[in-house]
Symmetry: C2
Subunit: 445 residues, 2 copies
């Protein structure tokens, strides 16, 4: 397809496509609080129907309904898009320069909660269908859209939904929800996500005056002891068996890192890590190795000044970022044993395994080749992103390759204040998705 023609078509309809982003941002859809979720689901349904998809909505509990949109053109190939219409809470509101739910265009960017994550991508994919329909009269590939409403709270209900509806979810490949243009220019394409095990650890006791601290158990110290049994100074996870199923990173994956810069995948301000290791080691650690984070700690008195009490409760929230083959349930059991021995309780908040598509998949070639065409530069292809998501349901349960690409950029400030995308990236993203749909059948064998 002629590149000039494609971009011309997109720019001619640019304002209409931008309007899609604005409409979606204007409708709050905060899964953490439930605000506007159902209204946003209906809005997405309408937008999908407007470009010809047949839409069904499924209540799955715990988030907004899952929307399944289908456009069957009786092609031999079917492409799935995975997206989510829910967003993170917008607070702290005082750090936004504009109302997060009132889309604002400034300096060639569109600001608002969900601009990058994930409403801009929903809009770009809908716009790409519209563009192709205008240029070709009909789509050259069958389309399925799965748009969920609980991604930001761990995708509750999605696993069950996928297991129960695998028959209607068949596709030859899936374009994952997000992607961004790196700080030095090229688009970044992810072939995978890390897995996740999120746990809450709790040590309890009796709140005594801390003068008794010499002889009564302090849940705070018990928690610290446990945390030290989980995580070593070098960042290694010390839980017995944690690395047992981790496979050595193949030379093929390692070589992919040769063309990646740390600045392609991190926000500004990050240069070296705990061990002051070199860039490639950091990239390997970030993208291909598991990690464990303290996300929260609480115990006793935390106000100004002093209170002298043994806390009755000490809690830590930990996330474990997992790599392929690591089983979150098995690891949870190991941590549970360790916790029992250490006198602390542990509760699983959520978890799922990692997922990764092989670099030699037809879909990777398709997405990379079309990115080269849409963006006019060589894409950076990552074996995996650092982030997590329920991609295994598509790769492992439904058995389709998944590749991630999208309209964000390094300054999108996803989950933060002043979330935004650049309008030029949005247009290129539409072109990229249009080209993926256009050439899908010729890459699929």
């Amino acid at each position: 397809m002629e590149r000039g023609l494609l971009f011309n078509q997109i720019r001619q309809n640019g304002d209409r496509y931008l309007k899609l982003v604005e409409t979606l941002i204007s409708q709050p859809s905060v899964s953490a609080t439930g605000e506007g979720l159902r209204d946003c689901a209906r809005l997405v349904e309408g937008l999908l129907e407007d470009v010809g998809l047949r839409v069904t909505s499924y209540e799955v509990g715990g988030g907004g309904p899952i929307i399944l949109g289908e456009l069957n053109v009786e092609a031999h190939a079917t492409l799935m898009f995975y997206n989510h219409y829910d967003v993170q809470p917008a607070d702290p509101l005082d750090r936004w320069s504009s109302n997060p739910f009132q889309p604002t265009i400034k300096d060639g960017k569109i600001f608002g909660r969900g601009a990058a994550d994930n409403k801009g991508n929903i809009a770009a994919r809908i716009a790409a269908i519209d563009t192709l329909l205008s240029l070709l009269g009909e789509l050259p590939v069958n389309i399925k859209f799965l748009v969920e409403g609980g991604e930001e709270i761990g995708s509750p209900g999605l696993e069950r939904f996928v297991n129960e509806h695998s028959d209607i979810l068949f596709a030859d490949g899936c374009i994952w929800e997000y992607g961004h243009v790196s700080r030095r220019g090229p688009p970044v394409i992810n072939l995978g996500v890390k897995g996740m095990l999120y746990v809450e650890v709790e040590a309890t006791g009796v709140e005594y005056h801390s003068s008794l601290g010499g002889i009564v158990e302090n849940p705070g110290w018990r928690l610290v002891e446990f945390l030290k049994m989980v995580h070593g100074v070098d960042g290694r996870v010390l839980v017995d068996g944690f690395y047992e199923d981790v496979e050595e990173v193949s030379d093929e994956l390692l070589e992919m890192l040769d063309v990646v810069r740390l600045s392609d995948v991190t926000p500004e301000g990050i240069s070296t890590g705990p061990g002051n290791v070199d860039e490639k080691k950091l990239l390997k650690r970030l993208l291909l190795e598991p990690a464990c984070n303290i996300c929260g700690l609480s115990a006793g008195y935390t106000g100004e000044g002093a209170k002298t009490s043994i806390p009755s409760r000490a809690v830590a929230k930990l996330d474990f970022r997992l790599v392929p083959k690591q089983d979150p349930d098995k690891i949870f059991q190991r941590i549970e044993s360790l916790a029992a021995g250490a006198g602390v309780r542990i509760r699983k908040i959520h978890g799922y395994p990692a997922a990764r598509t092989q670099p030699d998949s037809y879909l990777v070639h398709l997405v990379a080749d079309t990115a080269r065409e849409a963006y006019g530069s060589e894409p950076v292809v990552l074996p995996s992103g650092a982030a997590s998501g329920p991609m295994y349901l598509f790769t492992d349960v439904l058995g389709m390759p998944c590749v991630s690409t999208g309209v964000g950029y390094a300054g999108s400030n996803v989950h933060g204040p002043n979330e935004n995308i650049r309008i030029e990236d949005f247009y290129k993203g539409i072109a990229h998705i249009a080209l993926i749909m256009r050439y899908f059948h010729s890459y699929l064998r």
Copy 2:
């Protein structure tokens, strides 16, 4: 003095003396918030004047004014009382059965914030003066009252006040603020308090999405590493030089523990400690060894469910309970060095050294002998209590022996909800103080 006569006099005026406690409880005086402090100071001044003391009030900053009351009968001996009129905050209010600032009598007890700590004791000491004046016509000893208004927030200003006014603070001995009747019956007399070093430890960083956790520093882990460098699994403090100035406990002090039971000095529910050691070892640990407590922990997200962020800040509040010869400033410097090496910041909230009066002091014999008479049972004499307080200003700066005795009991729930004293203990406490004043001159050599 005839015991029957003394108790008869106290019981005849019992309701009037109880009214003193009720009046003091009715006036809130929360030093943490400042609520009612000045009104309470004026109330105490009036009550001291009512029994003939000449009162001066000093603004020292940081708490309520320090009240100095004097009654000079030109005796050869002068007895000091140290008390405080400020109280802990009453919350959580929903755990009180009655209004904390509305004194309530039930089942022979009087309930209200400050009943035991320390308003009941102020009242008992004033009542004891009133009793002796009625029985003897005049006091046999000169009296000084120092009543401060900032004890519950670390006695800010008291050290400076004592240093600047040592000339007018002369006395031959001091009866310390509190004391209680043990669970098995006998009154407990403390010859000392532990020292205190209260610090806040802070690790800071940047709040990143926790997918970056493999390569960016997590202040939570840095804090945990530091805490492990401070405190060992066996409860020992690992800070270099922490025990350097701690002297071996003398046989004389150890022998004092032979007649003490754990239940004399602890609330219900405490039987064994971290090492499952025997009772005497626990008593030694509790009363004569230093300790370190986590009083508070906070970092990142602590609400329901999950948030996947590296916290930008992780904070711990620690108290170190010190024994004689340990210098809080020197120890703070050691911890500061350790903190600098570990990449965390440390701030001193407050601190003071321990204090202890020798068991062979005339004041100990006086307080023990009169306790025997007032309570009709053999008192338990402790070389030190487990708690802390600014006693060193009296023992070390002003150079007078200090002994602690008072009207609480094991169920007083000091600092907690439903704080109370038993009315019978209050009457016995009045008798005890009266006897101490009565025989002071004959013990002092």
